[in-house]
Symmetry: C2
Subunit: 189 residues, 2 copies
DNA sequence: CTGTTTATTGACCGTTCGGTCCATAACGCC
DNA sequence: GGCGTTATGGACCGAACGGTCAATAAACAG
């Protein structure tokens, strides 16, 4: 019935996410986005309402990909013992070679305080990650060591460690130092 | 010999820091800064070279005040045992009632990657905080538990926890949950 | 082929951005 | 009181911002 869209909207969104991730919301200009997405202005505004809605869609994409991957890993009994899944996830942060940090964490700092919809998405992702850490703990050999309350708190502590690692990774901390932090955090679990 | 400046430059800078802290570098407009500093455009540009130099000066101010205060607390033998000084510092984050997070952490995420001078200041502050945590550990009753290397790593781990707490605090985590994270982090030290 | 619908492109819009400039004001010095 | 110097306030600047629009193109239905 009508002319079909010539670009893959998810692929374009992925590139947009890269720009927001690297530069933050305000510093990412329309020009930056258009170049990365390889489309023209008009096409962008046919596909998205405005800049903010691209950002929100990018957050959702991050949720569906990175966060979901992490949650799956933590919750998958076939990925080893609960504790070793946690370790695997944290070591993934350690190995983020381009040190981009965490889009979720960036959003929490630069937009969540001024945009309620960003705040809601950020909070939801954080709570899902926390819950996944808790699931992994519950499925570890040492699960018996923690009461339900204590397990929730421990999961939250690990999540806190995870966020810290993301910040330090973005700040250029070397792999070896990140590894030592992971070891210290998990030492007594 | 000449007309004296009518505003207190440090006080104005403190207000500018508040704006950058709350909104980030790009989102803080000249108008925002001028309103907060309560001066006119011309006066601002007599006192500072440009927007970026205000930001750098604000970072230095944060260093001289907040970071230095933290370092002093951690290093002060009269502030209790090393471990309890660490706990006091972390509980200060927990009690940050307006949940502003950490200007250092914000800068690490939103500007350090695109501005080498910001990056240098951020790295310097981070390393000083790390070192102060190490000092506090060294001066704790249980100092003997750690080799020098292990102490450095543990200090870095605590610093990582500190940064995570700052992010979570800015994200609105309730005091009680932050407290549980602190307890979990320090439990086995 | 014609008509309808929607995507593409880039010129164009008003606004806001960071930064400059200048007339005026407030000081110490002589 | 004049003079040199620096601060003040705000008009002003070009550039860049996010967003709109109209002409054109590409698809399908009839």
């Amino acid at each position: 019935m009508a002319r079909p869209r010539e670009f893959d909207i998810d692929e374009a969104l992925d590139h947009a996410m890269g720009v927001f991730w690297a530069k933050g919301y305000e510093a990412a200009s329309l020009q930056d986005l258009l170049s990365a997405m390889k489309i023209a202005r008009g096409s962008l505004y046919k596909a998205f309402k405005d800049k903010r809605s691209i950002y929100l869609a990018a957050l959702d994409l991050y949720d569906k990909t990175t966060v979901e991957t992490g949650v799956s890993l933590l919750s998958d009994p076939e990925a080893g013992d609960g504790l070793s899944r946690i370790r695997t996830l944290l070591e993934g942060v350690r190995d983020d070679e381009d040190r981009r940090g965490c889009f979720l964490c960036n959003a929490a700092i630069d937009q969540a305080r001024v945009d309620p919809e960003v705040e809601a998405r950020v909070a939801a992702m954080m709570r899902r990650l926390e819950a996944a850490f808790s699931t992994a703990l519950k499925q570890s050999k040492r699960a018996g060591r923690w009461s339900a309350k204590r397990r929730t708190e421990t999961a939250r502590f690990i999540f806190n460690t995870y966020m810290g690692l993301r910040v330090l990774a973005r700040s250029g901390y070397p792999t070896r130092e990140l590894q030592a932090i992971i070891d210290a955090a998990l030492r007594d679990l």
